[in-house]
């Protein structure tokens, strides 16, 4: 019984990581319906950026993350401004193809720059530190910090979304693009800012990705799938839904792995498919498709 309690706690904590992968994606998907197939690779790119700052300049990974954030914001803004805004439209195919191309470019560019070696971000003792709960139960400090960061990110994004002028513009363009344009909103600029923010969140996700396990340039697409599953389960435009979606995928994966280690990923996908068959629009959709 206690063993299962441990599994469930692990699952929820893993869900925090998936929610971090998904939060940026949820933001841009909710605002501009952009299917960004390069999101996973952009997270890996951010992880390499943090790694580079940490190794070359000798910074602590947390400080390196803080430094990487503005750079990633600028990269996201520029990417949206130069490329993605031109691909967006009524047709799904252009953004699909452009981000597919981008994914291949990022993966192979990283392979060229960093080789296929597995990397890891090192933090020292805190990596393995845990909090005893008694009765053989312990919670890792890093997983707890990951979930805490996910909750903080969702909270901050929601504050931005519902309490600021920028957030109002986000919601307006999401709800009705034409009317928002009539009200004088420059939707391309709004989209670029949203992508910049999504990349800042991706940088935070990259930090925890790099600390939790090894990474190499090719692991992006798998993270993208988990992220998209969380976004779709949560429902369009709902960040708390995305957090819930991440936790559902994380729980399904750890429970699946507990039954049979080979079933971990499969269990996550099955959970996703079950949810979408029952609720095709996700659990908590805020916006209309």
């Amino acid at each position: 019984m206690l063993e299962w309690l441990g599994t469930i706690i692990q699952g929820v904590l893993l869900g925090g990581l998936y929610a971090l992968f998904a939060a940026g994606l949820s933001l841009i998907f909710g605002i501009m319906r952009l299917v960004n197939l390069a999101h996973g690779d952009l997270i890996v790119l951010a992880a390499f950026a943090i790694l580079s700052l940490a190794t070359w300049l000798g910074f602590d990974p947390f400080l390196a993350t803080l430094l990487a954030m503005p750079a990633m914001f600028a990269a996201g803004f520029a990417l949206q401004h130069v490329l993605l805004n031109r691909a967006l439209g009524r047709d799904l195919l252009p953004p699909l193809l452009v981000t597919f191309g981008l994914s291949i470019i990022i993966q192979n560019g990283l392979l060229e720059a960093f080789t296929a070696d597995s990397r890891r971000l090192r933090l020292g003792a805190i990596e393995t530190a845990s909090i005893e709960l008694g009765g053989n139960l312990a919670i890792g400090v890093m997983p707890l910090l990951t979930l805490g960061s996910a909750i903080a990110v969702v909270l901050l994004l929601n504050l931005l979304f519902y309490r600021t002028a920028l957030g109002r513009a986000f919601r307006a363009t999401s709800d009705d693009l034409e009317i928002a344009q009539l009200m004088g909103i420059d939707h391309h600029r709004i989209y670029s800012i949203a992508m910049g923010i999504a990349m800042v969140v991706a940088t935070i996700a990259a930090l925890y990705l790099g600390i939790r396990a090894n990474f190499d340039p090719t692991i992006g697409p798998a993270r993208l799938i988990y992220a998209f599953e969380a976004v779709i389960i949560g429902g369009l435009g709902s960040l708390w839904g995305t957090l819930a979606g991440g936790v559902i995928i994380g729980l399904a994966q750890t429970v699946g792995a507990k039954l049979n280690p080979e079933w971990q990923i499969l269990a996550g996908h099955i959970a996703f498919l079950v949810v979408v068959v029952l609720r095709p629009r996700g659990l908590f959709p805020r916006a209309e498709d």
Partner: protein
């Protein structure tokens, strides 16, 4: 009715609806001739060229299938690798497990893939647009992970097709005698002919589907599902039909691919890069929503791979950049640009109003 009205009606009645163009009539003959030339090519060509052409043919067939699904039916799938892998694994199961002749197994694999497509459709058809794209990818991942569980088929590391399974493939003795070659080369020639049949059959299939009432319903759904339904089109059944048809064709192509490769693993057979990304590139570079586009796309793709693949990562970076540029600057692809510029259509599926020569 005044005299003027009558005259106008007479004039209108002289218009006809046509789908043929002069170019298409020439092409029909040229196409038959081309297929015949390709069919006798093994007499002259070396084994290397035959193997290259097998690759070109199956990529072309896959591209035509995806094009029918996305370009005409509006089902933007990122998960067709589900049926490529399924077809490949079914071929291995049928030939190794049941001792069926590989040629029969290719056809059977396609039919069984179609059976699998029905329950798959009931899951992914719950989703629309971007959700459908992602959902179809997840389903393909589920297939990959499930096939990795079958220890008889090599589990996660995969397995090889023993030569004994293909050494007695239908017609091999005849080919060996006819072309004076050994078993492996004879196997390639038979595989080549199946690939040619699929590559020639796929555009024909797409053409016939689009020329039918069914094709009209498909275009109507793609342009506006609600309007099509209000005009009496059963959108679910039409889309299901095309999805299952494409799954059957894709399953056969997958079976052929792994007959040729003779080695299968879950990661390769259900690869999103090989069987979705590249296929989408081919269609979009050539021109999505046209039958001519994939043909041009596959030629470009093959040429790039032939001359640049040695550059490894840089080749892939270039491919990605090319896809992005096409999407940004020539959204209708190479053929779309040509067709618009010179007003030609080799596979005309559009109904045209023709004014009689005065």
């Amino acid at each position: 009715m005044t005299n003027g009205d009558v005259n106008q009606l007479i004039e209108l009645a002289q218009y006809r609806i046509e789908t043929k163009t002069r170019a298409s009539a020439i092409l029909a003959l040229g196409g038959v001739a081309l297929v015949l030339i390709f069919a006798v090519l093994p007499v002259f060509a070396g084994r290397g060229l035959i193997q290259d052409l097998i690759f070109v043919f199956y990529m072309l067939a896959l591209a035509q299938c995806w094009n029918l699904l996305a370009g005409y039916a509006g089902l933007d799938s990122v998960g067709q690798q589900a049926f490529v892998g399924l077809g490949g694994y079914l071929l291995f199961a049928l030939t190794i497990g049941a001792g069926i002749d590989p040629i029969a197994a290719v056809v059977l694999s396609g039919l069984i893939a179609a059976v699998f497509a029905v329950p798959t459709a009931f899951v992914v058809f719950r989703l629309r647009g971007p959700y459908f794209a992602i959902g179809s990818w997840v389903v393909a991942e589920v297939y990959r992970l499930v096939f990795a569980q079958f220890k008889q088929l090599g589990g996660g590391t995969g397995t090889s097709l023993p030569p004994s399974a293909t050494n007695e493939i239908f017609g091999i003795e005849w080919v060996k005698a006819m072309f004076e070659v050994r078993s492996p080369a004879a196997r390639d020639i038979i595989t080549y002919w199946i690939a040619l049949a699929l590559a020639a059959g796929a555009p024909l299939l797409v053409y016939l589907v689009l020329r039918s009432r069914y094709g009209l319903a498909l275009s109507a759904i793609r342009d506006s599902e609600a309007t099509a339904e209000s005009a009496g089109v059963d959108s679910f059944r039409t889309k299901l039909g095309v999805y299952v048809l494409v799954a059957a064709a894709t399953g056969m192509i997958g079976a052929l691919i792994y007959l040729q490769k003779a080695r299968i693993s879950p990661d390769a057979a259900f690869s999103v890069l090989d069987w979705s990304a590249y296929v989408i590139f081919i269609v979009v570079i050539g021109g999505v929503g046209t039958i001519e586009g994939p043909i041009i796309g596959v030629i470009v793709f093959y040429a790039l791979q032939r001359y640049l693949a040695d550059f490894g990562t840089w080749y892939l970076i270039l491919l990605g950049a090319l896809a992005i540029s096409i999407m940004l600057f020539a959204r209708k692809g190479i053929w779309g640009y040509v067709a618009q510029r010179y007003r030609v259509a080799l596979f005309p599926v559009r109904r045209m109003l023709v004014r009689p020569h005065a």
